[in-house]
């Protein structure tokens, strides 16, 4: 268990949905302090609840529909963003971050500090590559996460 978990979510076969894992790859290439661990959560669902519970701070990076131009990104806290459940009444296959957060809240398991970096995708087709816009956002978001890990708690940023 480490102090901070950086979680990259998204399906890397679905175009810019894979931007979260791409940021994790960028961070791993930079080297991270020992108190920080990363997880390419990919299409992970409710198992995120326990993964988050084991840390003091969780930083999530994920594609997000922000209603902005492709490649734009935002730093959010869960209280500022209302996430929508992915799970349906018939299947948990699409359960995602919201569901894991809701379950963690119901069980009183969530860390105090959860920050979400959301990146606007350009396309979500069955392609195992990122768009130029999402690719361009990867180092910027990566640097913002590094900044955050270093204790420089930036205000909610808008880029």
């Amino acid at each position: 268990m480490t102090d901070t978990l950086v979680l990259g979510l998204g399906n890397t076969l679905r175009g810019d949905d894979g931007v979260g894992p791409a940021v994790i790859g960028w961070l791993q290439g930079r080297g991270l302090p020992p108190e920080v661990s990363t997880w390419e959560g990919d299409a992970a669902g409710l198992e995120l609840t326990l993964a988050m519970a084991e840390h003091r701070r969780v930083i999530v990076v994920d594609a997000a529909d922000l209603g902005r131009a492709p490649g734009a990104w935002l730093r959010l806290t869960p209280d500022r963003a209302r996430l929508k459940s992915g799970a349906s009444a018939l299947s948990l296959h699409a359960a995602g971050l919201w569901d894991a957060l809701a379950l963690g809240a119901a069980l009183n398991l969530l860390p105090n500090e959860i920050v979400i970096y959301g990146i606007q995708p350009a396309q979500l087709d069955w392609l195992p590559v990122l768009s130029a816009e999402a690719q361009a956002a990867v180092p910027n978001v990566g640097r913002a996460v590094l900044h955050e890990i270093g204790g420089q708690d930036g205000k909610d940023s808008d880029h």
Binding site: L9, G10, N11, T12, L13, R14, D17, W39, E40, G41, D42, A43, A44, G45, L46, E47, T49, L50, A51, D62, A63, A64, D65, L66, L76, R80, A81, R82, L83, K84, G86, A87, S88, A89, L90, S91, L92, H93, A94, G96, L97, W98, A102, L103, A106, L107, I116, G118, P121, L124, W126, P128
Partner: protein, 437 residues
């Protein structure tokens, strides 16, 4: 989605829509007029035929890696089927150690998926909780047990497969990373410690009342002579048929129906069922004794024709997989882990089919490889596609029997039926959907 025509006052019309972010999810549509069932279907929008397009022209070595990302829940199953089919095409025989590790990893995924399904999707129905969130508030110890069990299963997958969600260590012929004996010993101790939770799971489902509904059904699963089959085997039907995996198309008979982008399948009857209940009905004699005892405790007897009992069969398989995982680790430790790398592959043109029993039923992967080692053709048949026609046949049989109930009660009975099949109806994107307050 289509909307139903307005129906007379004397009729029940249910249209249970589940709007979703991007795609996937099922809609149950039932139309009853004057006490007569007019229309009944499960509408599915599912991953379209991207599979072949995604793989064609790529080196065969890309296939196991890419297919493991089709589904966040069945990533080991897709990768195992892919590797086995490529081995058939390229005439590669994996070592005994590789097969033991493959089986162990596979058990991790079956456990992970079944625990998720029976606790998070099925149990809330029996508690009248609506979903797992109120259940977590009213019975936190039940949900915490599920998460604890799921974590052990996930850690097993990470140890053998290299990652929690999508394995990276499996290759044609073997594994690129092998666990150390010490790691396996620790895992064995954790699986030992899981037995109490398995017993509590059996006890929980024993106390729950399963809807009383039976419909004579053809069940299909892989079978092997000496083990409860998950990887490979002979396609076996409760109607008495057996076929080699290479003849899978004779079983799956894919056809498209207008209301669903998923491929429906049928065998000799109008439909058949795959999954835990089918496996139990066909292979129960090869279950571990503790799993057979669980079946007795749960009132599950072959041939069980109540689809709601699929969840009970999953609980039985949870007991089996924990015991068999311990046995596989003991076998690996007794042999000693040999430092073997996957063998060199002689590139040649070839064709291969493989099948695995993933959590939801039989999964087929089929590849044609060119003499340049690239994928020239690919096909994938997932279990949920095979079950769709059977779910609809069950709904058509069930609805007339429960017309005396209120629309809400009918809706719940149908949702519970679909949930019992544990359908995979949205293995797609996991993008966040955010609304600002």
């Amino acid at each position: 989605m289509s909307t139903l025509p307005v129906t007379p006052v004397t009729s029940v019309s249910l249209d249970v829509h589940h709007v979703t972010r991007v795609e996937g999810h099922g809609n149950i549509v039932v139309d009853v007029q004057n006490g007569v069932l007019k229309h009944c279907e499960l509408q599915i929008i599912e991953t379209p035929r991207f599979f072949e397009a995604m793989l064609r022209g790529r080196p065969y070595t890309d296939a196991p890696h890419l297919v493991s990302r089709i589904c966040g829940i069945c990533s080991v199953g897709h990768q195992t089927a892919s590797v086995q089919a490529l081995e058939a095409a390229l005439e590669v025989t994996p070592s005994e150690q590789a097969m033991l590790l493959r089986k162990l990893l596979f058990h991790g995924e079956i456990l992970d998926s079944h625990i998720l399904h029976v606790y998070m999707l099925v149990a809330p129905d029996f508690y009248g909780a609506g979903s797992v969130l109120p259940l977590a508030s009213s019975h936190p110890q039940v949900v915490l047990r599920a998460l604890r069990m799921k974590k052990t299963a996930g850690d097993l997958c990470a140890m053998i497969g290299g990652r929690h969600t999508h394995p990276v260590t499996m290759r044609v012929g073997g594994f690129t990373r092998l666990p150390a004996a010490g790691e396996l010993e620790k895992l064995r101790a954790r699986l030992d410690g899981l037995r109490g939770d398995v017993d509590a799971t059996v006890e929980l489902f024993r106390s729950l009342t399963v809807p009383d509904f039976e419909r004579s059904t053809e069940y299909i699963a892989l079978s092997l002579p000496d083990e409860y089959a998950f990887i490979g085997g002979t396609i076996t039907s409760t109607d008495g048929f057996q076929l080699p995996v290479s003849a899978y198309r004779e079983v799956t008979n894919e056809f498209l129906v207008p209301h669903s982008t998923a491929k429906h399948t049928s065998h000799h009857r109008e439909s058949y069922m795959v999954g835990a209940l089918a496996r139990f009905n066909i292979n129960h004699a090869r279950l571990h004794p503790r799993a057979r005892a669980a079946a007795v405790a749960l009132g599950l007897k072959p041939i069980c024709a109540n689809p709601y009992m699929n969840s009970a069969a999953q609980v039985v398989e949870i007991a089996h997989c924990v015991e068999d995982a311990v046995a596989l680790i003991d076998k690996l430790l007794a042999r000693g882990i040999l430092p073997e790398a996957p063998p060199a592959v002689d590139i040649r043109a070839g064709e291969g089919v493989a099948a695995c029993e993933v959590p939801r039923g039989t999964l087929y992967h089929h590849y044609r490889i060119g003499d340049d080692g690239q994928v020239a053709g690919a096909n994938c048949i997932i279990p949920t596609g095979q079950n769709l026609a059977n779910i609809e046949a069950d709904m058509r049989a069930l609805v007339p029997r429960i017309l005396d109930r209120t629309p809400d009660q009918i809706r719940l009975a149908l949702e519970m039926l679909v949930r019992a099949y544990d359908p995979c109806i949205s293995c797609a994107t996991h993008m966040l959907d955010i609304r600002f307050e």
